[in-house]
């Protein structure tokens, strides 16, 4: 019966598309917060970091949703890294142009939003103070790292990617990943010894 067969095929395809959509949703939900923190460390700007993550999500979904799910993570971080680099270049050009302008107003975007600053979880006050100090110190130390070292450290430590995945995401060899990561750990340890004994 061709009609029934055709209907079966449609059902199978629909079910496959739904399961792929569910898998993509789970994957994006699992990486979005970490990706945001990685983009924020690189761009030092919350709105730009959100835009970068949003663009990376869209591009992955449009261009690579049909790829095997195990390829999504390195692909996603590769796309995110390209987006971050584009934004950094654009910001450099914009900075040069703005530096030539005679009158520049105050940048309201840099003022902290009290609602945005509100934490979503509340640890105890002592632990919170310790973590605040440690986070502030780590954030400063991370921002001072060269971009590739920062990227290698965050992808491996925060995102938990192995050397091969990190190399794919960074577009370099596994040896380069190990070198960048080792240097990042050395530099951070030299700066954060007081907080991370």
């Amino acid at each position: 019966m061709p009609a029934a067969l055709h209907g079966d095929v449609d059902l199978t395809e629909s079910s496959s598309a739904q399961s792929r959509s569910r898998a993509l949703n789970q994957f994006l939900a699992s990486v979005e917060l970490k990706a945001f923190k990685i983009a924020q460390a690189a761009l030092r700007h919350e709105e730009d970091a959100l835009d970068a993550v949003q663009d990376a999500m869209l591009q992955l979904a449009r261009a690579y949703a049909q790829r095997p799910p195990e390829q999504w993570k390195p692909l996603f971080y590769r796309i995110l890294e390209n987006r971050i680099r584009d934004m950094q270049r654009r910001r450099t050009v914009r900075g040069r142009v703005i530096a030539w302008l005679p009158f520049r107003g105050e940048d309201d975007e840099d003022e902290p939003d009290p609602i945005a600053q509100a934490p979503s979880s509340e640890p105890g006050p002592v632990r919170r103070l310790e973590l605040n100090e440690a986070m502030g110190a780590l954030q400063q130390a991370l921002e001072a790292l060269p971009r590739r070292q920062q990227q290698a450290f965050l992808l491996r430590t925060l995102e938990g990617m192995d050397v091969a995945e990190t190399a794919t995401a960074m577009g370099c060899s596994q040896g380069s990943v190990k070198t960048h990561y080792f240097r990042a750990v050395q530099a951070l340890r030299a700066q954060l010894g007081d907080f991370y004994v």
């Binding site: 994006l28 917060l33 869209l58 261009a63 945005a116 934490p119």
Partner: protein, 131 residues
């Protein structure tokens, strides 16, 4: 997936703890924005990449078509403009060969001598028969 083949040092463990804590502290507004971005991405994936890719490939297809058009135009114009130049170049090259080839000139000279001798003989014979 294991992030490291080697065991983490205490420093790396502490750094990871702090980083994970910072992720947990991302505020509600940012979480909401990320959720919206995820839903938009899922909608884009459901819409399929066909229309998006076709628009993306349009400039490339146009560039290829333009290159083909230029190539075909140049190919058709080539014989008319190039032939006279080639003929002139070829004759000049042949003249240069004749002048430069001493052996060839000797051969031609020998042949011409025999021809001239034969022609003179014929002319003498004709004159005698006429006279």
């Amino acid at each position: 997936m294991s992030p490291e083949q080697e065991p983490l040092t205490p420093f790396e463990r502490n750094a990871r703890t702090v980083l994970e804590e910072s992720v947990q502290r991302v505020d509600a507004r940012t979480r909401s924005r990320l959720n919206q971005a995820r839903q938009a991405a899922l909608a884009a994936a459901a819409a399929g990449p066909a229309w998006w890719r076709s628009f993306t490939l349009m400039p490339a297809a146009g560039a290829v078509a333009a290159a083909l058009l230029v190539a075909v135009t140049l190919w058709h114009r080539e014989p008319a403009s190039e032939l006279p130049v080639l003929d002139a170049q070829r004759s000049a090259v042949e003249d240069m060969d004749l002048l430069a080839d001493a052996e060839g000139l000797d051969l031609v000279q020998d042949g011409d001598n025999s021809f001239y001798e034969w022609a003179a003989t014929q002319a003498d014979a004709n004159a005698e028969s006429d006279g």
